[in-house]
């Protein structure tokens, strides 16, 4: 009865393909980015005002933008990091949109995914941005170091390169600890420990990994949600790693199509939204088991809980490829879809969970 509602509050069509959207921290503004028909890139900054989204700024670039994040930027400058189809990583100061603050030739091919951590708004530790690309490499960047990445995770020469579709930071609960998760088109999920510079854990979920997200970046890693092709949502419990069994996980079928995204609610880490290839949204709640660990071969092993579907909604006929919860207003979100429209969503009753 007391189900949350998912309502499209504002819907706006644009004249270009949208790939990603992000709320600007500490504001009622969000950016949407994508590709113009001539495959040049565009970023638009909108502000919600009186039930409408008003375009404030627009940035154009010669190459289409695939993804962006504010995660690695300080609140004082709120630089938007974007990855484009040409493998470049840009940092944009939206106050001065004429040219990018920094530009790196990060990858040889399209930057599929990006994540940031360590800005004043999210997590502690150094501000860092991670990018994953079709060229198989995952690179970690520090905006203070202009010329080269601080870490590269890529297959060795001669190894066949997998298309990296998803990256995510996590475990950044102090200034040293930090892990990066990368998901690949063959279903591989690899967890790199940036403190020890080593591969910490890996698994395969059989289908290409479209999105990886830790429930929180700035706590000891707790949960990881991976969404894949073939309508699968996997949740890994990362609290306890067993030497052999690794991390326990559950998987759930949803959307009847590719699950493009999962996004945790910033105000409640047990609630997350998944976005499907058929234009549907699913709101999930993770329920912890009674005991989070059990013993196996004399070693502690994690126990995974279960998922309950809180609500689902169909917004479009096209896949929803971008979704972001507002960090400042619970229940407010923005999503983009391949139908060349973005929607500001309202999800009610989230405070009840």
């Amino acid at each position: 009865m007391d189900k949350p509602q998912i309502i499209a509050h504002i819907e706006k069509s644009v004249n270009y393909s949208l790939f990603d959207c992000r709320w600007m921290p500490c504001s009622a503004k969000f950016v949407v980015m994508g590709s113009l028909p001539n495959s040049s890139g565009v970023i638009q900054l909108y502000e919600i005002s009186g039930g409408d989204a008003k375009l404030i700024k627009e940035i154009k670039s010669d190459k289409a933008f695939k993804c962006g994040t504010f995660g690695g930027s300080k609140l004082s400058n709120r630089l938007l990091a974007t990855g484009d189809f040409d493998g470049r990583l840009h940092l944009w100061d939206l106050e001065r949109p004429d040219s990018s603050a920094y530009s790196y030739n990060a990858h040889k091919e399209i930057v599929n995914c990006i994540d940031g951590v360590g800005g004043m708004s999210t997590g502690c530790g150094a501000p860092e941005i991670v990018t994953g690309s079709r060229d198989g490499a995952v690179k970690v960047w520090d905006p203070r170091q202009k010329d080269r990445p601080v870490a590269i995770m890529e297959p060795e020469e001669g190894e066949n390169k997998r298309d990296c579709w998803a990256v995510g930071f996590g475990n950044s609960y102090n200034s040293e600890e930090r892990v990066v998760c990368a998901g690949y088109d063959n279903g591989d999920i690899k967890m790199f420990d940036l403190k020890t510079m080593s591969l910490r854990w890996e698994t395969n979920v059989k289908n290409g990994v479209c999105c990886l997200e830790y429930d929180r970046k700035d706590i000891k890693m707790n949960k990881l949600v991976a969404t894949t092709l073939e309508s699968k949502v996997c949740v890994f419990d990362l609290r306890t790693q067993h030497p052999k069994a690794g991390f326990p996980h559950l998987s759930e079928k949803a959307h009847k199509s590719t699950v493009w995204l999962s996004r945790h609610l910033p105000q409640n880490r047990e609630i997350f939204m998944t976005c499907g290839g058929s234009g549907t949204l699913c709101l999930w709640k993770y329920n912890y088991p009674e005991k989070r660990t059990t013993m196996l071969d004399g070693e502690e092993m994690g126990v995974v809980g279960n998922l309950s579907l809180l609500q689902n909604a169909t917004l479009s006929t096209q896949p929803i490829c971008g979704f972001d919860w507002s960090p400042d207003k619970q229940g407010l979100a923005v999503c983009t879809s391949f139908d060349q429209a973005f929607r500001v969503l309202i999800v009610t009753k989230l405070n009840l969970f």
Binding site: S27, K29, G50, G51, A126, Q145, M153, F192
Partner: protein, 529 residues
Amino acid sequence: MNSSIELQRQIKENAEDLRRFVSDLSSWEEEMKRKDSGAYAGSSKDNVVPPIRNATKKCDNSNSVGVPTSEEPHGVKKRISSNDYAAWEKFDVEKACDEVENSVTTPKAESEEERVIKEKRLRDEANVEKEKGNQFVKKGQWDRAIECYSRAIKCYSRDAIFYCNRALCFLKKKDYRAAETDCTSALSLDSTYVKALHRRGLARKELNQLRDAAEDLYRASELEPNNMAVRSDFNTVLAARISETGDETMRQEVPIDIAINVERKLDPILPATKHRPPSSTFKETKSTAETAWPKVEDTVLIEPVKIPPHKQSKKPLLRIKIQEDCEITAVKTVREHNLPAQSASGTGTNVRPETLKNNLEAKREEDASSSFDNAKKSNKPKIAISKSELNSSMKIEASPLQETEVIPPVPKNSVQFLAAWRQIYKNSKICCQYLKQINGENLPKIFQDSLDGNILSQILNILATEFVDANEPVLSYIQGLTKVRRFRTLTLFLSQSDKESLEILFRHTQKLENTSSDLIVSIRKDYEF
């Protein structure tokens, strides 16, 4: 009915929720706008941000980044699923083992690299100090130079140059003991460091350790035969020794040595190859002067021969049969003739290594026939020994190769020529035959630009004696020589005897080959007559 009422209530509630949310939203918008404008100012106070990852390892960043790089494929390899038989068939266990080993050694290699970098930094620092020290040396500020070199040594203690330079300062300060110690340190790092040897020699001379001084200077002159400073110091030390000790044997040996040195002084471009260092002479001096062996009539003392590796002969050892009078046959290996005194029979003779060598050379120079054959027949040879009336009652059977002086093949380049020439230059007949093989016009091609004055004068001498005696044509040779590169420089060093030889040759060629006087004049011009 109930459900429909419930549904209506639900819808109403939802609408209410939404209305509330939207109104909330508008107030939130206002609030956010206010916050937003303050965001830049409000949060500008920077918290302490951790340093850039791996920034400390900037110098080998690529390396540190490489760690996870290598890590990942390991993971990929490990992940061959159990039912993927094809992959397991291809799985190379040995390679995997190697990889595991390599991955273990990687951090070690990295620390090794770090160590190398650190060492390099220290060495650079030391070199800077050295340069400073050199500047002070130029100004004659010995104390400050010593300070600099000491700091350099503190930074990097394994460079002989620092010790050697400091030794110079000590020498100048007349602190000979310290100079000697420094030189010894330098030599322990680099035993063929001529400057260190020279300076230690000087220091020891001042400390009145004449024997050691002579030894050092001798070794230095051996390593650098053209170093005139070393040579003159060596001579003064020797002279000092003679006047001091007045040892019979020394008096006997030293003048020869000095004579050689004087000769060298006269002709500074004499190549090192011609004059074998007077090792035997010197060694002899040493042995008689220093050894405390009981003087047994029938023994001979063998001194080890120290020759730097680059001067050692590359030729195989010769086998020499030594048969003694008292029917004891001992087969000894003797190094090729330019390494004398390597070995000799242990008992029954009083032949010194030097004389043994002399025997060999005398033998070689003899025409292989007479005395040797006689000796064979009589089985009781008497070998004449120059400048010593020691009577050897040995019979020496050298291998035929050594004995019957094979004429070396026609040389293709100067290296071959010089190698052959070094062996035969003492035997003018062989030289003559050797030269006859060579076409005079080919001389420039053979020598390129490595003909030196000494060889030239030797060739001229052979031409003027052997060729003229045998009535052989010489024109092509004297013409060929003029075509050698840098010949004009060589003519500056022609000695009087060379010029006399040339005169003979000119006359000879005019007579024998009917050379026109014009040509002779032009050749004369080439020889700077």
